[in-house]
Amino acid sequence: MTEFILTMAGIGKSFPGVRALADVSLSVRHGEIHAICGENGAGKSTLMKVLSGVYPHGSYDGEITFDGQRCEFGGIRDSERRGIVIIHQELALCPQLSVAENIFLGNEQASGGLIDWNRTNQRAGELLDRVGLRESAVTPVGELGVGKQQLVEIAKALSKKVRLLILDEPTAALGADDSAHLLDLLRGLRADGVTSVIVSHKLNEIMAIADSITVLRDGRTIETLDVAADTVTEDRIIAGMVGRDLEHRFPPHEPKIGAEALRIEDWTVHSPTRPDHAVVDRANLVLRRGEIVGLAGLMGAGRTELAMSVFGRSYGRDISGRLVKDGRPIEVRSVREAIANGIAYVTEDRKRYGLNLIEDVKRNISAVGLSRLARRGWVNENEEFQIAGRFRASMNIKVPTVNTLTGTLSGGNQQKVVLSKWIFTDPDVLILDEPTRGIDVGAKYEIYSIINRLADEGKAVLVISSELPELLGLCDRIYTLAAGRITGEVSREQATQERLMRHMTRNQEQNP
C-alpha cells in the first residue's frame, strides 16, 4: 500500500465548446485534510464530480486510483460503495423529512422491507452525537439552520462508512461559529482516520486546517503544497491561483468616459429564505456612460444578488436603498420598469434564465423588444426576420438561419443571442453577469469586442466576472464585493490580481 489513499492522474474533461479540465493530478495521503484552491472556473467542482462518479467513467480522460485499485465509477452509487462521499455546496436534503430519515435516505434501516424506526432513530442519534449536533433525530431538517443542515449531511456521510469525505465550499454559507465548529469536526474525523478533501475559497480557514493544498488554475494542477514542509502563506496560494500572465488577448480599447448614468446608493438586499441575512449590505456603486466597470467577488459574495435586485427586484426581499439614473432618482419595482428605465441584465445562466431554448434565434432576439416590431399588438414578422438578420451579421452569430432553435447553438452563439435581445431594447445601462462563462477563447474575444463597442456607443456597462484577468483586461474600474459589502474600488491602473484577490477574500471580521 502506498502513502496515498487517492491518486488522480492526467484528468481531462471537456464540455461542448469548453475544456473544463485539461490536465489535473491530485494525490491525497491517508488520513489527511487536503484542500483544493482555485478561482471560480478553475475546475474544482468538475474535478470533484469526476471523482465522485457524477461524470461516469469514459466521459473523462485520465486515471483514478483509490486505495490501490483502479476506479471506473459509473455513477455516484459506485463511488459511495467504495466510501467516497461528496457533500455539495447546495445541500441535498429533503426539508420535510426528519433528520433520521435524511441520514438514511437510500440506505434505509429496514428488515424484510419494513423500516425499523427504532433502529433508524437510535443510529441517527449516535451519528448526531458524533458530529456534535444536539437535535432530536425526528426534527424535520427544514427547521434547522444551514450550519446544522451541513452537520446532518456529514452525519449522513458517516452513516455510509465514509473513507474519503469531499466537501465543496462547506463554510460558504456559514457564520463564524458554525464554521469553527465544522473545522473542529473535520479535525476530529481526521483523528478517526477519515480522509477529507475540502474545496474552499476561504484561505484563512484552509491555512488553519489543511495538511496539503493543491492549487488549480485553468483546469490544470499548478502545485501541491505540503503545509508542514513548505512555507505556505496566503500570498503564496493567491499567487498560484491567479499566477497566469495576461496572455489572454483583449481587444484594445480607449475609453471615452462620460456623465454618470446610474448610481446605486446604500443598496441592501435580504435573502428571501433567511430574512435576517443581508445578502447585499449597504453597497454603493457608480456607473458612467462609456465606462466598463467590473464587479469582482468570490462565489457567495452577492454579485448576482446585487445585480438582480437592481434589475426590477428580481431577487431578494426587504430591499432598501436608492437608484439614481442620469441624476434623477428612479423607482424600479419590476422588470418592466427596469427595461423602461433603460436597464438591461444579461444573466449568468443563459440556459435557465436567458433563453427560450425551444424557440428560434429570431424570436429570442425579439422577446424583450417585441412591441417595437408590433403595431396594435400584431407583430410584423418580416421586420422581425430582418432585425434578427441584422443582429446575426453585426454580432456574428454563427447559425444557418435565424430560424434555427437556440437550444442547438454553442455557448458563445447563445450568448450573442442573449446580448442581441437586450441590445435591441437600446438600454443605457447593461449589467452583464459572467458574460463569457462556458464560452471558448475565440468567442470570448468577440464578446469583449461587443462590450467595448457598447461602451463606445455611450452605454454604461457593469461586468460581473469570476475571472480576474478578464476584469483586468476589460474594465476601466473594478469594485470588489465580499460578503455583500463593497470592499474596494480599484482603477485600471492600480488593479492587480493579487490586490483584487486580497479585497475579495476579506472576511467580515477583517472588515468592520
Binding site: 422577446a367 414578422e381 430582418q386
Partner: protein, 413 residues
Amino acid sequence: MSGTASPATEQISGTLPRPREPRRFSFNPRQSGIYVAFALIVVLFSVLTGGTMLQPENISNIIVQNSYVLILAIGMILIIIAGHIDLSAGSVVAVTGAVSAVLMVNLDIPWLPALLITLVVGGLIGAWQGYWVAYFGIPAFIVTLAGMLVFRALTLTVLGNQGIGPFPDPIRTLSNGFTDGYLGNIGLGPLGGADLVSLLVGVLVVAGIAVSQWRARRGRLQYLQAVDPLPVFLLKTGGAGVVVLAVVVQLARFKNIPWVLVLLAALVLFYSALTTRAVFGRRIYAIGGNLQAATLSGVKVKSVVFWIFVNMGVLSALAGVIFAGRLNQAGPTAGTSFELDAIAAAFIGGAAVQGGVGKVVGAITGGLIMAVINNGMSLIGAPSEQVMLVKGLVLLAAVAYDIWTKRRGAAAR
C-alpha cells in the same frame, strides 16, 4: 407594398446574408407527422366503411357533432402552450349552457343579448380560475379540478335534475343549421345538384388561401427569407385548395355549409393569427418555453396567464351554448368529459406536456383525428368501448411519437 418596404431593405442589404438557395422540399416529421397521420386515418376509414365516410351527409355530421370540442381545443391549446391545463371545461360547458337556457327560455330574453351575457358569464368563470392560477399561484390542475366539481354542482343547482328547452331558432340554427340556398342549385354532372352559394363560398375561400399565401411568400422573398421552391409551394397551396374545395362540394351536395363551420373557420383563423403573429400570442410561447427567462424579459406572466383562462371561459361558454342548442335543451350532464377530449386533441396535435409548443391548427387536426375515429368506428358498428380503447391508444401513441422524435433529434445533435 414594395413602396414602403424597399428603402429599409436597400439600406441594410449590405449587411444581410445573401438569400439562401431555396431549400429542396424538406419534411419535418415532428410537425408534419400529425397531418400525414390524419390523412392516413381518413383513407383507412374510407376504405373500411366502403366510402360512407366521405359521403356528403357524413362529412357534415362529423363537423357539426364535434364543433364544440374543437372550440374547446382552441382555448385548451393556448393554456397548454403556457404550461397549464384546464380540467373544468366540460363543467363550464354545462353551467353556461344552463345559464343560456335560463336567460332565453325561462326569462325570455332575446337570443343575441342572452348569448352575449352567457359569454360574459363564461369570461367571469375564466377570470375566477385565472385569478387562483396566475395571482394566487395554485397549480391549474388543482384549480380546474375544483372548478370541474364546483361548476357541475352549480349546473345541478340551476337545472335541478331536468333539462331546460327548447331554444330559440337562431341558436338552433347556429348549432345545427345550414346556410340557405339563396341562389338555388347547380348541376355538377355525375355528382348531382349542389348549392351555388356554398360552392361560391368555397371558391372564394380557396382563392383567399391562394392570394394570402402568395402575398406572404412575396413578402418573405422581399426580406430575403428562405421559401419553398415554387413547385413545392404550388403543390402545397394547390393541395390545400383541392381538399377545401372537395369538402365544400360534398357539403353543397347535402344541406349547404353548417353555420358552426363558418364560426369555427373564423375562430381558427383568428386564433392562428393570435398565436403566431400577435404580441400576446408570443408571450404565451415565451412563458411555456422558459418561465424564468420570460419573467426576466419583462413579460407580464401573471396577466397573460389570467387572460388565457378568461379566454378559455368565453370559448367554453360558446361551446356550451352551441351544445345546448344542438340538443335543444340544457341538461345536467352536458359536457361530461369534454375537457378530456379537448386535452387529448391538443396533445395529439403536437402540444408538449412541458408547454411552449403547440399550434391551433394542430389541436384542430388532433380533434378531427378523434372525430374521424369516433365516426368511422361507429359506422362500421364497433361498440363504444372499442372506440374508447382506440382513442386512448392513439393519444398514447401520438405523445410517444412526439417524445421519440424529440429524443432522436437531440441525439443527432
